[in-house]
């Protein structure tokens, strides 16, 4: 971004790589916590989950997702929805994250 190109899904996803799950120590995109991401003009809609319900870091992660998305040029509003279904599982990680944790399929 910053080169004048229009805001799109990839720009937001790229920015969300900077938001981590502190306990697992990987970013929320590679962990597979982001279930849906839509960009409608300047509005960003994100549907995501946590690795476990009641996660003490939940408020910070949600706030971090909101703030990081909002900081992108062209974003006028951000809606972050937290869902518990489908429940997160290690199989949702990207291959890179699976390799990092040594996750067995």
């Amino acid at each position: 971004m910053g080169d004048g190109s229009a805001l799109n899904r990839e720009h937001v996803l790229d920015a969300l790589h900077e938001v981590i799950d502190p306990e697992l120590g990987s970013n929320i995109v590679d962990l597979g916590l982001v279930y849906e991401l839509e960009v409608e003009g300047g509005l960003v809609k994100i549907t995501m989950t946590m690795t476990t319900p009641g996660c003490p870091a939940q408020d910070y992660i949600l706030s971090g997702v909101h703030e990081r998305s909002k900081s992108l040029p062209g974003v006028t509003d951000v809606e972050v929805s937290l869902v518990w279904l489908p429940a997160w599982a290690p199989r949702l990680m990207t291959p890179a994250a699976k390799a990092h944790f040594g996750v067995r399929d």
Binding site: E23, T52, C55, Y60, S63, G64, R104
Partner: protein, 449 residues
């Protein structure tokens, strides 16, 4: 922004607990007591209560103030009351220690501080149990770890009530004729505390934390239910029948007590088997040092249980109890506590100092970046080696060798406390290397509140 999900009383509780733990270790190293010394000696009573109230109970309650809202998704009813619980327990413990000193020195004026301190401890325990118990009771359905914690809290109340009865019997003359017989139930008091309160609760906490950290299936099925039912029933039968046998000699009570022992043995065996299953079915092949080191604590739980079974079966429970109690307190419970603190302290540090910076233009460290695992690994190895050697010395009844072995326990404990402190101060914090274009690292967190 401070997250509502962060318990502000947990780290202060941990700090108080660690101070009490070091104080108890200092007294042991100074030769005030060691496991083979009679339990009724004032020095022994001081050290034991510093360990079980000042160290393990404060630590466990502090951890539950943070942990119970996680498993119930409900906040504690009162955060200020959680702080008050810590302060009241510390005050009550100080009173009890003064009472033991007075009891040993023949000072009746000071000895009265024993039941007074014990009563204050009960107030602290009841406040803590209410704060932790309310979200558990209101949570429907309550998962297995929560039910095990609830059972543990009931045993905590039973344990401190029995303890207060002992204090009253020792120090209040008019009550002595009624309560003195209870003094022979010290073993039942220990079973209720070390077993029903600490072990049952620790098992429940382990059932949540281990699968969560290692990405293993959380559902424990019938095995987990059996562990809970057998454990709770076993500790209840062993304690209840044991206390009843002080006054009654009925054969059914003896059978009930032994049934309790067998149930406890089965519960521990099933639990350890289930823990092995969690390790084997974990999805995360590369696990962190606290999850590797905690296997030492589980090993000591197994050894202590086997030894207890052998000493009971051969009719020598009094001979074996110092060794079993030492293994349970230092090998199992403290081993579990120190290893899990190695993860929990950095995690709470992250929540307190770094969480609010997430997504706001700087790279925040991961929890793993707040510790140096290589250092932790060495301290844990030294700690468990010290416990193992100490256990051998207790078995051989060698007090001098025990003090030498115990020095290893103390040195490693101090080493680990230094690592917790460094994690809290951000001593090792550094930016992760995952993104080469990452923005500059956060300013020194030591400047943060």
């Amino acid at each position: 922004m401070i997250s509502k999900r962060l318990s502000r009383s947990t780290l202060p509780a941990f700090a108080c607990a660690l101070v009490n733990f070091v104080a108890a270790q200092g007294l042991i190293l100074a030769g005030v007591t060691w496991p083979a010394r009679t339990i009724s000696a004032p020095g022994t009573l001081i050290v034991v209560h510093l360990l079980v109230i000042g160290w393990l109970s404060l630590l466990m309650l502090g951890a539950l103030f943070q942990f119970v809202p996680v498993i119930t998704c409900r906040p504690l009813p009162s955060q200020p009351l959680a702080f008050a619980t810590v302060a009241i327990l510390e005050a009550g413990l100080a009173g009890m220690v003064c009472g033991f000193i007075g009891f040993g020195g023949g000072s009746r004026e000071l000895a009265i501080a024993l039941p007074s301190g014990g009563a204050v401890v009960i107030v602290g325990v009841l406040l803590g149990c209410w704060n932790i118990g309310v979200p558990l009771i209101r949570s429907r359905p309550l998962p297995l770890p929560g039910r095990m914690i609830l059972s543990g809290l009931i045993f905590l109340i039973l344990t401190v009530t029995l303890g207060l009865s002992f204090a009253l019997a020792l120090t209040v003359a008019p009550l002595r004729p009624y309560l003195a017989p209870l003094m022979s139930g010290v073993g039942d008091h220990a079973i209720a505390g070390l077993g029903g309160w600490f072990t049952l609760t620790a098992m429940g906490v382990g059932y949540k934390l281990l699968p969560m950290f290692m990405l293993a299936p959380e559902e424990r099925g019938i095995t987990g239910e059996c562990v809970h039912v057998l454990g709770a029933a076993g500790f209840a039968l062993a304690t209840g029948a044991g206390v009843a046998r002080i006054w009654l000699t009925a054969e059914p009570l003896r059978i009930a007590q032994w049934t309790g022992y067998v149930a406890i043995g089965l519960a521990v065996t099933l639990y350890l088997w289930d823990i092995v299953r969690i390790y084997r079915t974990r999805r995360r092949a590369l696990i962190e040092v606290h999850n590797r080191a905690v296997s030492g604590a589980f090993g000591f739980l197994g050894i202590a249980t086997m030894l207890a079974a052998v000493f009971l079966a051969t009719g020598h429970p009094a001979v074996g109890s110092p060794l079993v109690v030492f293994l349970l307190i230092f090998g199992w419970l403290t081993g579990l506590a120190l290893t899990q603190l190695y993860k929990i302290v950095p995690f709470l540090t992250w929540l307190s100092r770094y969480g609010s910076h997430l997504g706001r233009g700087g790279v925040v460290p991961r929890v793993q970046d707040l510790v140096r695992e290589r250092r932790g690994r060495r301290w844990f190895a030294l700690y468990f080696l010290g416990v193992l050697l100490g256990a051998v010395s207790v078995l051989l009844r060698s007090g001098l060798a025990f003090r030498f072995d115990f020095a290893l326990v103390t040195i490693s404990t101090l080493g680990l406390i230094t690592e917790y402190w460094r994690a809290w101060r951000g001593h090792y914090a550094r930016p992760p290397n995952s993104r080469p274009d990452a923005p500059p690292f956060l300013p020194d967190p030591r400047g943060s509140p």
